[in-house]
């Protein structure tokens, strides 16, 4: 039972990261019908920005500001930086292809992904960068926390999972209760009709990219607080976030959240009860099964096309 709780905790933590990445994918796909393969690398850049700011503020061992402020600043910096990156990518790599055949922005996205991950590798090398979060407050964030059935749940984990959920709630609110959110949903249904109704499509799309990329940035920081980050991490995590989005139903926000958690837990349980080596296999097989039997995912809509 203890093992199960530990695995579930891991699954929830990893799943929150996947969920945040998945949300970015789902938002962008909803509005542009584009699978933004570069999203995973935006996530990776976020973790790097977070690292940079962390080191600039003294590092985990000797921060110049209180720990809570440190975490907030690092996360905000990553979110802001990624938002800018997302806007730049949209502006230069996707907008010119707005009216091109569907395959064009996909290939462009692959190009951007390649460019980003290799640029980071060029500039920072292929090695790992460790936030060393166990040094924060002399390890207090790990020792504090509460115990569930003899399993220690560190404060840091609680903060991470909590913030992820908080962000998701904020996002849900933005998309479902604001005018811009309504414009986003309209654009995702029918871009041309939305344009004809006076919605500024460009602004909606930029807003979507800002939201999605900021979430990816936050995810990057949360990821790196747990494990070291490196330039090539974008591809695999992006793929997993992407799987989560598709399983949940691409275009559906609750779907992305549920998909992320499910995926994180699936990965965690497989690694725990079987072996780590095959956890990836399980993840991919789940996806392929969904694609074959239920392509619209858990919460997605089936697209009925008029002939």
């Amino acid at each position: 039972m203890q093992f199960f709780i530990q695995l579930s905790l891991d699954g929830l933590t990893v799943g929150s990261v996947y969920a945040l990445v998945a949300l970015g994918y789902t938002l962008i796909y909803g509005v542009l019908k584009l699978l933004n393969f570069a999203h995973g690398d935006v996530f990776m850049v976020g973790s790097f920005i977070g690292y940079g700011v962390l080191q600039a503020l003294g590092g985990a061992s000797n921060p110049v500001v209180p720990v809570w402020l440190l975490l907030v600043l690092v996360t905000l910096a990553a979110m802001a930086g990624c938002a800018v990156l997302g806007v730049v990518i949209e502006r230069f790599a996707y907008r010119p292809l707005r009216n091109a055949p569907r395959i064009a922005p996909l290939i462009s996205a692959l190009g951007v992904s390649f460019f980003l991950s290799n640029s980071m590798q060029l500039e920072f090398g292929a090695q790992q960068f460790n936030y060393a979060s166990y040094n924060l407050s002399g390890g207090a964030l790990y020792f504090h926390g509460f115990d569930l059935d003899h399993v220690h749940i560190p404060l840091l984990r609680i903060i991470t999972i909590g913030s992820a959920f908080a962000l998701m709630v904020v996002l849900w609110f933005l998309v479902n209760r604001t005018r811009t959110g309504k414009a986003m949903r309209a654009t995702s249904f029918d871009r041309e009709a939305a344009a004809m109704l006076g919605i500024d499509i460009d602004r909606v799309i930029v807003f979507t990219f800002i939201l999605g990329s900021a979430l990816a940035g936050a995810a990057g920081v949360m990821f790196a607080l747990r494990v070291p980050t490196f330039a090539a991490v974008g591809f695999t995590t992006g793929l997993k976030g992407f799987t989560a989005a598709v399983i949940g139903g691409i275009g559906s926000i609750p779907g992305a959240m549920v998909g992320g958690i499910l995926l994180g837990c699936a990965e965690s349980y497989t690694a725990g009860y079987w072996t780590t080596a095959w956890s990836d296999l399980v993840v991919f097989s789940i996806l392929i099964a969904f694609m074959i039997f239920r392509p619209q995912g858990l919460f997605g809509r089936v697209d009925i096309r008029k002939v």
């Binding site: 230069f92 292809l97 290939i107 692959l110 290799n118 095959w278 991919f284 074959i292 392509p295």
Partner: protein, 494 residues
Amino acid sequence: MSEWLPHESESPEEAVPTSGPAVGQDEWVAREGERRASRAGWVGTVEARLRRVPWWAWLTLFVAAGSAMPLFESSGYVRLVGFNTVVYMMLALGLNLVVGWGGLLDLGYIAFFGIGSYVYAIFDSAKFGYHVPSILIVPAAVIVGALVGLLVGLPSRRLSGDYLAIVTLFFLELFETVATNGNQIFGHDITGGSFGISTVFPLSFAGHTLAVQHNGIFAVSYYYVAIVMFVIVYVALFFVNNSRTGRAWRSLREDPLASEVMGMPVNWLKLMSFATGAGVAALAGTISTALNASVYPLNFSPVVLITIYAMVILGGAGSQPGVVIGAFLVSVLLQVLQDPGQARVLFYLVIVVGVIAAYRVSVRLALVAASTAVFGIATHAIAASFHHSWVDGAHGGLAGVIANWVVVPEQLTPWVGQVSYLLLLVGMLCSTQLRGRLRLVALPPTLYLAAFVWENQMIPNPGPARYIVLGLLLIVLMIVRPNGLLGERRVEIN
């Protein structure tokens, strides 16, 4: 038919049509394509003549040139590069079938290359002790590859475009995972895991083994084997494209529903497209594995996949000669970027040609060239005045000459590199957005920064540098010329 509307005919030898809608309008529209295609003067004549050369003449010329290469280059390394280029060409042809003709975005294509490789390696290596003669194992690998292609194509019946791309990409990941962890499948070691299989036997025909190396130099015989297979694949696919199946594939690319309603079994055709493409990739895999005498999971990573895609897109998806040329160019590009001297020359060539193409021979061109030179000299002087080690990094040859202009420190401080890279990106993006005088102002510093980054970061790190160039190439191609070099301009109605 009504005869009372006058109708202009375009050329005298054409019989005047006896009926028609207004004033020759659609004649003119139809002729427009011809008019645009043929340009005035001698360029037009040359183009027209070239267009009349039959496809097999081009192929023969190309093969002859390729076959003559080993006569001029006895270096084993160059032969190996040549061999790999031919393998790339085969892969590009196969991918062209699936993506260019069938319109199916197969992001898992390279997995079939891997399957062919592993089948060959498992049954013809010291690992398990099997030694199946090539005449059997190569076709077997092709068949296995085609069958797996069929399986992977099964989801394509219900999935389109993006979703198909996802599933195929995940199949590739699945393949990689299995290959990397294949040394622990329920206690059996099948694929050698991440260490691969490195004791593969060479090709053998009728009991006669084709040795891979003579005195440490890669055998030229493999190069010719590759060329022969390439020709077979090229011709076979060319024939298929001009048959009912090829037409059906291209129709399905255009409009699957209309194809189905016109009597073409779309689902079966998609499966056949996947299977045939996969078979070609598997074939390429067998000879590649034989020459390298080994196979590793990393040979089939998404990086390789994107490289093949870059080849197909650069050359022009849908055009066989195009993708072959694309494969050649990208292969050469990747090689050139490995060597510092060649990379340097390539860079300056591209910059010069690019700037001339953008500004033609004009005052503006002179301005840009002059100001870039001055900017560089000034920066160099300033840097040198601080400390000589800031500019002493280059040694000899062209590098030495260039280093009088570009700042090449002995040791590049990391943050300087990072900042300059970022500035370069900003400069590049701005230059594409600005016009006129503002662009003239932004360009020289950007060009100088580019030279700086190239010299100090890209050349010493060819690994990531190659793929940065490839990634940028893909983005720019999609925006500027999505149909690549020889592909046709496509019209799509969504």
